[in-house]
Amino acid sequence: MSEDRHVRIAVEDRTRFLIRREHRVLRVLALVALVAAWEVVARAGWVPVLFLPSPLGVLAEGRDMLVSGELAGHLAASLKRLVLGFAVGGGLGAAVGIAVGFFSIAEAVGAPIIAATFPVPKIALLPLLILWLGLGEPSKVAVIALGVFFPMVINTYTGVRQADALLVRAAVSFGARRASVIRKVILPSALPMIFAGLRLGAGTALLLLVAAEMIAVESGIGFLVLHAGNIMATTKLMVGIVVLSLLGVLSHWGLNRLERLAIPWRT
């Protein structure tokens, strides 16, 4: 220790193990590998086609159904229910959410009712809705609307409550009255939460769509999946599942695009 030795220590970046790389190639590769493995297993004949049709087979079947117009018919019926239910449930949910978030009387009336009803699984209401509205389209649309309504109400309400009180005061100080405050401060403040509600609602809507289309209908992707299963047309069934997952991906992508358009001030 008496010896005074010269030491030189290089400083290294100690956070290196925290860096998360994107691994772009791996992302694609993993997906391709899964489908390829599936194709190989299906072709090798280790599993009967009845249980596992090959991806290329599903693709061919999908093309045939597209050409014959079968798929378009089912898709149109499903989309109609989906869009209607989404519009009704989303619109009502946003409106009620704003009212409950802003007006104390609406909150006193609405908050306990919403808290009591939102945990009910919406599928459980389908038989009741059929009883009330009949086996036709209205009960299908209504169950989807209900599924979208709740996440929308709760998210919009939270978004409204989270609006910056300082901005509200600033608006009032520049002469804004109630209607202006709601339209120009509360609503844009709540917009990110409203979009989160829409995204939650989109997932629920798809789920309820399929459930509703499994009862007393002759069209729709849900019907296609159930019917194909009943007659053991597994390839058709798979086409239905692929279409459903595409619908999910597309709605997510579409909502993201819409959000970026509607909220241009977000970083």
């Binding site: 300082l166 005061r169 608006a171 009032v172 520049f174 002469g175 804004a176 844009p188 001030w265």
Partner: protein, 256 residues
């Protein structure tokens, strides 16, 4: 317009049933074209006082009035410490806000806003959103938005305290230049003694909670103000006097 505060008191309920006095019998007058600084240690109720003047808070007792020949469309407009810009509005639309609420047609509104955007040094930034601007630029928007409604009295609540020291200095210069051009009556809340002395015609020193007027100190410096004046004896004298008034109070505030 002159602004008159008569025996303004404000008591808060602390939520446990106790009354917390914030302002105690504050009376003061601000003359037209005067730049008055309200100064005091933290928790002296300066912001409370400003909010009462703006009509954003009701006093427990006392009253605020404006005296002049005609009733102004906008007696006051506020510049906020945290800017309080609308994040979803561009610079142009933020500045237009008050005019929009006053029902001015779109074309006239855009023209009017443009004037104050230029006055505040924001030309070229009209289409930017607040998050794309630096703190100093954001507060310029706050100032332009307030000036655009042509208020009888401009209220500024620690407008530059969220900015870094260098930007703050520059913004003070800028505000003085704007004042020279517009001669707006300004009530300026600050806890910064140098800022108060440098900017104001008169510094009103408030005591710690509950806020009372401790002293009114006229600042005997010429206008337009220049940085060199900070070296003048009158500057140092006023600053020392104010510091001696609030030193004990500030010390007590730290211990709290």
């Amino acid at each position: 317009m002159r602004l008159v505060l008569e025996h303004v008191s404000k008591t808060y309920d602390d939520g446990h049933g106790h009354d917390v006095p914030a302002l105690d019998d504050v009376s003061l007058t601000v003359e037209a074209e005067e730049l008055v600084a309200l100064l005091g240690p933290s928790g002296c109720g300066k912001s409370t006082l400003l909010n009462i003047v703006a009509g954003l808070l009701a006093p427990t007792s006392g009253g605020v009035s404006f005296e002049g020949h005609a009733a102004p469309a906008h007696p006051t407009a506020m510049v906020f410490q945290e800017f309080a810009l609308f994040p979803w509005r561009t610079v142009q639309k933020n500045v237009e806000f008050g005019l929009e609420e006053a029902g001015m047609p779109a074309a006239a509104r855009a023209r009017e806003a443009r004037r104050f955007i230029e006055l505040a040094g924001l030309a070229g930034f009209e289409t930017k959103y607040p998050h794309q601007l630096s703190g100093g630029m954001r507060q310029r928007v706050g100032i332009a938005r307030a000036l655009a409604v042509d208020p009888a009295v401009l209220l500024m609540d620690e407008p530059f305290s969220a900015l870094d020291a260098q930007t703050r200095q520059l913004m003070q210069e800028e505000l003085l230049a704007i004042w020279e051009r517009t001669r707006k009556t300004i009530v300026y809340v600050t806890h910064n003694i140098h800022e108060a002395v440098y900017m104001a015609d008169r510094v009103i020193v408030l005591s710690r909670r509950p806020g009372r007027v401790l002293a009114e100190i006229p600042i005997e410096l010429e206008r337009p103000r220049a940085e060199a004046m900070m070296a003048e004896p009158a500057f140092a004298h006023a600053a020392e006097r104010i510091w001696s008034l609030i030193k004990e109070q500030a010390r007590a505030a730290v211990r709290e």
